[in-house]
Amino acid sequence: MNYIDAQYVPHFPGGDNDSLYDYLNNIVRGLKSVGPLGFVQLDNSDASSEMSQRERRLLEIQTAISSVSMHLQTGFSHGLSRQFYELLDEDAWEDEDVLPDMSSVRTFLQVLVGTDGNRRPGIGTNGRGSVTAFWLADGNRLTVECLPEERITWVLTRELDGETVRAAGESRPARLLHELTPYNPEIWFD
């Protein structure tokens, strides 16, 4: 038997930077890279594409969405990728805003996988790097702010038994659905 001890497993791209095609090719090329006589090769000649920070971040986000698409409902990932395309559109994006950071994007994707819903949320950013997801159904609103390192804050307004209930909390994506159970969260996800 060969056990993998998960706490040591190295990061392998499944979301950031270039495609796996480029990443794996560059590893193999790097192993063979030597400088000409009299030169020390400091950086190998990895092939990559030139784009602005905003364009590269969009591609990273779309790659991250793609990488979990098999764990989302059919068609979900295409719609999400287009939402981020619109959010980061050159004409719509404010240059002074901080681009969504990838750790927050991964948290956002964990929320979607964990809630396994049929309805895509609206998305936004707070201009400081986090990703905000919100669901609205019959006046009931759920907002989840996705922060780095799998941290979230959530706030909701929900009509229950003729009363308007407001609630909020801090949690992790894997626990969100459990914490929302008293508020019948299927209204947002099913």
Partner: protein, 246 residues
């Protein structure tokens, strides 16, 4: 036959040729209506940084080698270089016929524009990631999920911190070889770890771009790729893929 949750992260068709094509010709070929869904082409570059020991100087050499373009939702990308065309379909992967027809729908006008009559190499590459839930013990037994085994040269603690292997072999079909990469990896899912299976089936001989040879070759390469994948995984992995699409 395909899995409900196919573990394919990237499906790639790569075509190479011998004679260099100019950047201008590459860009012109991108203007064909087949590429209407794709956005503006971005330059693909290599940057070499070296230290001249004799002069004590750093030098940097930036070279433009081609272009990249992608569709709006980022699920399809095309790399064009002086000697190669690469079509990448990111997950979600649907089925072979969709993938094949899309790739051929792009390479066909591209080949015509550049007068490519023969490919020196064709590569069909599928990069798979098997997401495996980690139990309370924080460990998984790789033997339960893949048939590739690592038996170390000595008795030790019996766990693997990292594992990466690359092997290149001929297939049973003359002129077709494959490169197989197996590696442990992080999973994007919480509470999971992952194993990467990167299968690159490629030709060892020049292939004329003419039918029916071309389509028959692609079918044969696909059969090899599927066979390699299935022989690498176990039923426990198959369970993770959610069964077959009906």
């Amino acid at each position: 036959m395909r899995y409900v949750k196919a573990p394919i992260v990237e499906a790639v068709l790569e075509f190479r040729w011998s004679e260099v094509r100019s950047l201008a010709d590459l860009k012109l070929a991108l203007e064909d209506k087949a590429f209407n869904d794709f956005g503006d082409a971005k330059p693909r570059v290599t940057i070499n940084t070296a230290f001249d020991v004799g002069k004590g100087e750093l030098s940097q050499d930036r070279k433009e080698i081609g272009y990249e373009t992608s569709v709006k939702d980022g699920t399809e990308r095309v790399f064009l270089e002086e000697r190669k065309f690469v079509y990448i379909k990111n997950a979600p992967y649907t089925e072979w016929n969709d993938f094949r027809e899309r790739a051929i729908g792009l390479i066909h006008p591209f080949s015509a524009a550049l007068n490519l009559l023969e490919f020196s190499r064709i590569g069909l590459r599928f990069i798979n990631r098997i997401d495996i839930p980690v139990g309370d013990g924080g460990k998984i037994d790789t033997d339960e999920y893949i048939s590739i085994k690592f038996d170390g040269p000595r008795e030790d603690a019996g766990s693997i911190d990292e594992f990466q292997m690359r092997v290149v072999k001929p297939t049973v079909v003359e002129g077709i070889s494959y490169a197989l990469v197996v590696a442990t990896s992080q999973s994007p899912l919480s509470g999971h770890t992952a194993i990467i299976l990167d299968i690159d089936v490629f030709t060892k001989f020049p292939v004329p771009y003419q039918e029916p040879t071309f389509s028959e070759l692609l079918s044969s390469m696909r059969e090899q790729k599927n066979g390699i994948f299935e022989s690498c995984i176990t039923d426990k992995s198959r369970e993770l893929f959610g069964g077959m699409v009906k």
